[in-house]
């Protein structure tokens, strides 16, 4: 009986399924019918309409690239602008035989393998139909003429006018402004591909990269009707692109130039900051390079030469170079001792020329072999006595030092508006456990106290710390860009984060420490007197010298014996600000393998400060009316003019 029921159910179930499947297949047939009807409608009924659209008039949507914003210094001098250049481009779809055409062009104008390779690479990338692809850029007038004459038998070859980024001061500002370069596939994925539909360049480093969003602008579109040969017959609709925003830097070009001149071919970095605002007045890393080379695509040989150059011109020392800060940390270590109650200004120690931890056999030597004798904090700063700070650091321990130094900007990014900043190292017991899986040894605190050992600082970080001391503890965030402007909105300042302060138990200590730092420069016993202070007549300066030991050569690098000596030489540091009572500029200077901080780095700082005071006075003496006619407005009108020519203006020839 039970078996019978199952059998019955099975039949019934099969019946249900068969029924449902038939219904479903009727549905399938109906839907196939719908598709066929739709196709019939499109292909048979509306055939002539679509045939017309497809064959005679091809309506295309072409993106129009926006004009990249300019970069100007604080006086309105243009540091990065857009130059019209002419290039010969190929519309692949209109060329009967691509390799033959390229060969023909090669007979007319110089064309190297790089150009062709770059062209072929671009050809592989996704693009809109009938987009011209540049084959060679920067045509001379003669080349334009030659190509125009032969235009009749070169279909699909056009000459385009494009705006190309140009840096009037490439070597001076290569590490400051950075550069743009041809946009690559990976970068296209990072940005809104629609907005970059016509854009050829993107910021690769520095300010150009950091402010890419603002500099780029918004793409425009035009809907055009083209004939079967791809020629535009009519523009149906147009949405103009919106140019990028112009960036007005804090940077003062004369000060920057003075820094380069003062470095006099040596390797290193100079960063000058306005303590009130955090605005960066000068930002230099030497050696620099010609950033214009990178814009249209640097060739392999030049790039390899730069890459393999032993002095590493591509390396941004000011932003990414990490060096032991040496004795320049002493004023801050001293403040830490004062604030923590470990010392006061009367506290003194006997310096025999070395310091020894109980039970540890190691001698920690002072730079002065026979010692400084009795030393107070003031003497220790002015003469840069190591023993004093060995003793202080030993008593304070690493973590107190770490916590006090951290707000000065060490061990973390300062937050400057440039791409690629590194954080340096501010050691602590926790840091050592995390990175080295080792406990902290007391001897290491001693090295920390004089800015050696694990601690590493970038020149930018030291400049920020200098500005914070000059500010009596007001923490600044270094800024490159002061204001932005567009054609429509005019100049408006950029928002900045509110300032914070380092609070000392006794704020008077700031003044007293600055007085000691003034003594470093302005009194005969100071380490910077001979090279800097003796020559100062118009203002006074506070500062601190430093020497960073180059402990070892990096692994895997071999140097010729004659050069070895130079690489072993110490890095020279100087940090300083002026005038001491109301500082208007704070500077940090690093000279790689420079030798001595006072004599080698100090004069650079002095020349930079001189240049800034001179330049500042000059721009202050200009009346407001005159300022209106200054290059700032001129530059703006240039940028407006630049908005007008659409990119891809076809000059010739079909």
């Amino acid at each position: 009986m039970a078996r019978n029921v199952t059998f019955h159910d099975k039949l019934r179930e099969q019946g249900i399924f068969k029924h449902r499947l038939v219904v479903a297949f009727l549905g399938v047939l109906a839907l196939v019918g719908v598709l066929l009807l739709r196709m019939y409608h499109l292909q048979i009924v509306q055939y002539s309409t679509y045939e017309t659209i497809s064959d005679r008039n091809r309506i295309q949507i072409e993106p129009i690239a926006p004009t990249r914003g300019l970069i100007l210094d604080r006086n309105g001098t243009i540091l990065a602008d857009n130059n019209p250049t002419f290039s010969v481009s190929i519309i692949k779809e209109l060329v009967p035989n691509l390799s033959q055409t390229i060969a023909d062009i090669r007979e007319l104008i110089p064309l190297n393998d790089n150009d062709v390779q770059r062209f072929e690479k671009r050809l592989q990338q996704r693009r809109r139909p009938l987009t011209p692809i540049a084959l060679r850029l920067n045509l001379t007038e003669e080349e334009i003429a030659i190509l125009s004459v032969r235009a009749y038998d070169l279909p699909g070859v056009i000459i385009e006018a494009n705006l190309v980024r140009h840096y009037p001061q490439p070597e001076l500002l290569s590490h400051t402004i950075g550069y743009v370069g041809r946009i690559n596939e990976a970068e296209l994925k990072q940005v809104d591909a629609n907005n970059y539909g016509a854009t050829e360049y993107i910021g690769k480093t520095g300010i150009e990269k950091f402010y890419e969003d603002r500099l780029h602008g918004t793409v425009g579109f035009q809907k055009v009707e083209t004939d079967a040969r791809g020629r535009t017959t009519r523009v149906l609709e147009k949405i103009d692109p919106t140019g990028g925003e112009n960036l007005h830097l804090f940077l003062d070009l004369p000060t920057q130039q003075a820094a380069l001149k003062a470095m006099n071919g040596r390797r290193g970095a100079v960063v000058a900051i306005e303590p009130d605002t955090g605005g960066v007045l000068a930002f230099l890393s030497t050696p620099g390079f010609n950033s214009n080379l990178f814009v249209t695509g640097i060739d392999h040989k030049s790039y390899n030469d730069l890459q393999n150059d032993r002095w590493r011109p591509l390396f941004n020392r000011a932003l990414q170079g990490q060096y032991p800060p040496g004795s320049t940390v002493k004023p801050m270590v001293g403040l830490a001792g004062l604030d923590g109650g470990f010392i006061d200004w009367n506290y003194s120690i006997w310096d025999p020329g070395w310091y020894k931890i109980n039970g540890d056999g190691r001698f920690f030597r002072d730079w002065k072999k026979w010692g400084h004798g009795f030393v107070t904090l003031d003497t220790a700063i002015v003469q840069s006595c190591d023993t004093y700070f060995y003793e202080l650091a030993h008593r304070m321990g690493v973590d107190r030092l770490h916590d006090f130094l951290s707000p000065f900007g060490f061990g973390h990014r300062t937050g400057i508006d440039m791409a690629g900043e590194v954080s340096g190292v501010l050691p602590s017991t926790e840091w050592k456990r995390r990175t080295r899986k080792e406990r902290w040894y007391p001897g290491e605190s001693l090295n920390f106290g004089i800015g050696q050992g694990y601690m590493l600082s970038t020149p930018l970080q030291l400049a920020v710390a200098t500005a914070i001391i000059a500010n009596h503890g007001t923490i600044i965030e270094p800024r490159m860009v002061e204001k932005i402007s567009t054609k429509d909105t005019g100049i408006r300042p950029l928002e900045h984060a509110p300032l914070q302060h380092i609070k000392l138990r006794d704020p008077e200590q700031w003044r007293r420490m600055i007085a000691s730092m003034r003594n470093v420069v302005m009194t005969k016993k100071g380490t910077a007197y001979g090279a800097v202070g003796r020559r100062l007549t118009e203002y006074d300066m506070a500062g601190k010298t430093g020497t960073a030991q180059v402990v070892n050569i990096k692994q895997g690098e071999t140097y010729q014996a004659s050069k070895l000596k130079e690489w072993h030489r110490d890095h020279a540091w100087f940090m300083g600000f002026a005038p001491t009572d109301h500082p208007r500029i704070a500077v940090a200077v690093l000279v790689e393998n420079g030798g001595h901080g006072g004599t080698d780095a100090g004069p650079v700082a002095k020349q930079v400060i001189d240049a800034w005071f001179e330049s500042d006075a000059r721009s202050r003496s200009v009346t407001p009316e005159e300022q209106d006619a200054s290059p700032a407005t001129e530059a703006l009108s240039t940028s407006q003019r630049m908005h007008t020519p659409p990119t891809g203006t076809e000059v010739a020839i079909h």
């Binding site: 159910d9 249900i16 449902r20 479903a24 719908v34 598709l35 196709m39 659209i53 009938l130």
Partner: protein, 379 residues
């Protein structure tokens, strides 16, 4: 009765099956295989043209098809009972992968659909759910009598809804709807009460409104664009207008192979992937489209025949669902390219360039073949 009399009494199909005894022993359905090969061969010919005569593309796709055929052969060896036994555990694993995708998945174009497996590369867990959801629903019904009771209906609804919502959250609305529909097809074939179907249809209006509220902006934009392509001539609307132009300008007999202007001048977006039917329609015209639909229809009918021949509920449901889901992909893709459905990013089965879809589809045909070749002749 001698042996030849016995043969004479068998229906012609059975006769063919007997002759193909080699294919029979390796559990391959010769007829289905032949139709699939015709479809894939034609697909490669269209792809060659749609990819601007890129032989590399064709070779890459052919290799993927080869891989897919291998997967199909393997899938055909496994008896259908094994699929039923493993579908629910695998389904659970698939749901875990979907959750992992939402948490750890990598972002691409504003959605989180891919899961990176160190050493294995990345894949889309939603793709395997396309197979696992119908298999699981069928497995639920297989052990119960039909038409389904409320308990099994509730259970299968849950099985459908969990992955659907997880995938919709990625967000990948197109795949979510496809998976939901494949599960629904199984329920329909199992004999879902007509009254419930009518109620569902009635409640679709408020449900649609609710869904609209839950949609992401870009998804709403797509639907609005679909309703009025002119409203967004720069973006998605442009794609549809271009694909309609390509199809329409093909006319009755097409512009000829390699002569399509729309696809070759790059007017047609995604001409070798989702929009490949437009390239076909442009070059081979209405005749080409009819031929393609005919091949598809033959495959569907063979699938339906296999479903009817199957010996038990589970096999029937799986075979029926896989066949009808195959049609859903065809309909959604052609519908979207020709502008009667919104653009949801579904490839044209066996023809569009891309590996995942081909391999999954061939795997499902492998399961169909397994159902057909493993059944007991008498039940």
């Amino acid at each position: 009765m001698n042996r030849s009399d016995y043969l004479r009494q068998l229906p012609p199909n059975e006769l063919a099956a007997r002759r193909n005894s080699f294919l029979q022993t390796i559990h391959i359905d010769g007829f289905l295989l032949m139709m699939l090969l015709i479809l894939m061969g034609g697909g490669l010919i269209v792809l060659y043209s749609a990819s601007s005569a890129s032989i590399d593309t064709v070779i890459r796709q052919a290799l993927r098809m080869g891989l897919g055929l291998l997967v199909m052969c393997v899938a055909a060896q496994i008896p259908a009972t094994t699929y039923r036994r493993w579908s629910l555990p695998l389904y659970g694993f698939g749901v875990l992968l979907l959750i992992a995708t939402l948490i750890f998945g990598s972002h691409a174009k504003g959605a989180q659909r891919w899961l990176d497996i160190p050493g294995l590369g990345r894949f889309q867990p939603s793709e395997i759910m396309k197979l696992l959801v119908p298999l699981s629903v069928a497995a639920i019904f297989a052990t119960r009598s039909l038409p389904p009771r409320w308990s099994s209906l509730l259970m299968s609804t849950g099985i459908i809804l969990v992955p659907t919502l997880l995938i919709a959250k990625q967000p990948d609305l197109g795949t979510a709807l496809l998976i939901a529909s494949s599960g629904f097809i199984t329920m329909f074939l199992a004999g879902l009460d007509w009254r419930i179907l009518v109620t569902l249809a009635g409640s679709s209006v408020p449900a649609g409104w609710l869904l609209w509220e839950l949609l992401h902006d870009y998804q709403r934009q797509r639907i609005l664009t679909f309703l009025n392509p002119e409203s967004d001539p720069w973006g998605t609307g442009w794609n549809i207008m271009q694909s309609k132009t390509a199809i329409g300008s093909g006319g009755f007999d097409g512009k000829g192979w390699l002569n399509g202007t729309q696809s070759h001048l790059d007017f047609l977006p995604e001409s070798s992937t989702d929009f490949i039917i437009a390239a076909l329609a442009e070059e081979f015209g209405f005749t080409g489209v009819c031929l393609l639909l005919l091949v598809y229809l033959i495959i569907l009918i063979r699938g339906g025949y296999i479903a009817l021949q199957a010996g038990n509920n589970g096999d029937r449901l799986i075979a029926g669902t896989l066949t009808l889901t195959f049609f859903v992909y065809i309909f959604v893709n052609i519908g979207m390219v020709s502008g009667i459905l919104p653009v949801v990013g579904v490839p044209l089965p066996m023809v569009s360039y891309g590996g995942t879809s081909v391999v999954t589809l061939l795997a499902s045909f492998g399961i169909l073949m397994s159902i057909h070749t493993h059944r007991q002749l008498l039940n």
